[in-house]
Assembly symmetry: C2
Homo-oligomer: 322 residues x 2
């Protein structure tokens, strides 16, 4: 294990500085309403409120860590283009996550009033504005992935990379991914799910976008990564995605709202099936550690050279306190 | 005017047969829930309900008409790939339109119960399912635009075309397009707008996706269309988009709910600013004809050879009865 020498806090701080700056630059900027910025201030404000100043940014970090894992011997200008692609993909994944939270918090879904320690978007801006802000954030994710490019510019993001990123993000977000998982969640309230059914729900609801974030980063590469490396990253992403949810279920029971920045204990209150309700606390904790081991083993078995950030992120996901 | 000999009904019937089949094939198919189709049946059903069996399919027709206008001397396999791109773009534009109707009809927005002669999606499936179905339809639009491709297959959609289609659709749908227009609409209820403000709202709310549909079709081309042709198509799309809304406002006053397939008279009932409330009926009708003339003049001035379908569609939009 080479991860001992890797300083996740230092690496994350560097990456997050880039991500936060990019999000602030790209999410509905401009206070003035004019021909260049025709969208009303209230909509932009709701979009920025939903995205900026909060969140662990796990999905962006996974994108950027996966990009590091597949960095090839690239000429500097090509590397610059692919780094730009990864930063855009990191922000796009976060926009999809942010929009899903906005819609998920609405009264017709989870009806939650607290998120990241602040009033939820519909509480702050009204339901209609929250609905539109979520919709606009999803569209913006795909806009970020497809900047106009000059075919003669070596540092431009290759169109094949742009198209692949859009395909992967759309699949992760759509009815066979995150939105499908939310629909299963909706249909499961009050039902006694088996562990298989619970796993299926989470594989889509949170797993698809977490695994998808890893694969977005892996797509920011000059050549396609090998089939073996791709499988390793998929296995890593699937295990990490499921581990994230198991730990989420554990924290819903063991942490308080102030630590979480959202309402604690709401799963039990809403009679939602969770790993804790199904397996109990001890077995859930053991399962999370088992999934961490699976994620790390997949990277061990791969030939990917530069996986420290991915390894450290998996460890952080499983051993986090909020 | 060469449009006299063009049979729009015949052309539309041919195009719509392809569009309806493609939508039925691509929108959340499969009744069985398994590893290949993990999304719950209720979500897919809501998605298909929102899209299939209804609608004039104006946006798909505009995409396909614009593709015809830019057809170049293409080898048969290249033409097949670009025709596939246009069909996908036609369906993607319709999915964005359909999702916007689902969300727009929800209680927190327009709170409408009738659409295309049927109960709206949230009435039929519940608000939460309607919210998710709309979200999933938006993601699916971008998934349709980015099929996996084999770089060695000449009939594959070139990745640069895929990326351009995603960029254009995202911009048309997002906060500087449709979603922004809906936010302006929301903020305008009960206000006395000037004609400039009303035009700005509609330019985004319906105009962006109608004009965007024209530009999607124009992007399905082997070479970039000339700057002059692009400007002509943008002018055509802008005039047609605005004309569509002016006529919509007229029909809201002059037609009944059965003819429209949606609730008539709701603009006045909700005290929404419209062209009729601002200009009166006669001047609104004259304005619609003026916009039609603008759209046709832009095509006349262009060097595009094959614009009959675009011309006939503009005529149909302005002189329609429902």
């Amino acid at each position: 294990m080479s991860s001992v020498a890797f300083d996740l806090n230092h690496w994350s701080a560097q990456q997050l500085a880039r991500v936060e700056q990019a999000l602030s630059d790209w999410v509905a900027p401009g206070g003035v309403v004019d021909d260049e910025h025709p969208a009303p201030a209230a909509l932009r404000e709701a979009m920025r409120y939903a995205v900026l100043d909060g969140g662990k940014r796990l999905r962006p970090l996974l994108v950027l860590a996966a990009r590091e894992a597949v960095v090839d011997r690239e000429p500097p200008d090509v590397a610059a283009g692919l780094d730009d692609a990864a930063l855009r993909a990191a922000c796009a994944a976060e926009l999809i996550h942010a929009y899903s939270l906005v819609h998920d918090d609405m009264p017709c879904m989870d009806n939650d009033v607290l998120r990241r320690g602040k009033p939820t978007v519909h509480v702050q801006f009204g339901e209609a504005q929250a609905l539109l802000a979520g919709d606009a954030l999803q569209a913006l994710a795909f806009e970020l992935l497809t900047p106009e490019f000059d075919a003669l510019d070596a540092a431009a993001i290759p169109p094949a990379v742009q198209a692949t990123l859009c395909r992967q993000l759309a699949q992760a977000a759509g009815y066979q991914g995150m939105a499908g998982g939310q629909a299963i969640d909706l249909a499961s309230i009050g039902l006694a799910l088996t562990e298989d059914q619970l796993r299926c729900m989470h594989r889509l609801k949170t797993g698809a976008l977490l695994q998808g974030s890893v694969m977005l980063g892996a797509a920011c590469s000059r050549r396609c990564v090998s089939a073996a490396a791709k499988t390793a990253l998929q296995t890593y992403g699937a295990a990490l995605g499921l581990a994230f949810q198991v730990v989420d279920d554990i924290l819903d029971v063991t942490a308080d709202s102030a630590t979480l920045g959202k309402t604690a204990g709401k799963d039990a209150a809403q009679d939602k099936p969770t790993y804790v309700s199904l397996l109990g606390l001890d077995r859930s904790q053991a399962y999370a550690q088992e999934l961490l081991a699976q994620a790390l083993a997949a990277l061990d078995a791969s030939t990917l050279p530069n996986t420290q950030a991915l390894r450290a992120l998996a460890d952080m996901v499983v051993n986090r306190c909020s």
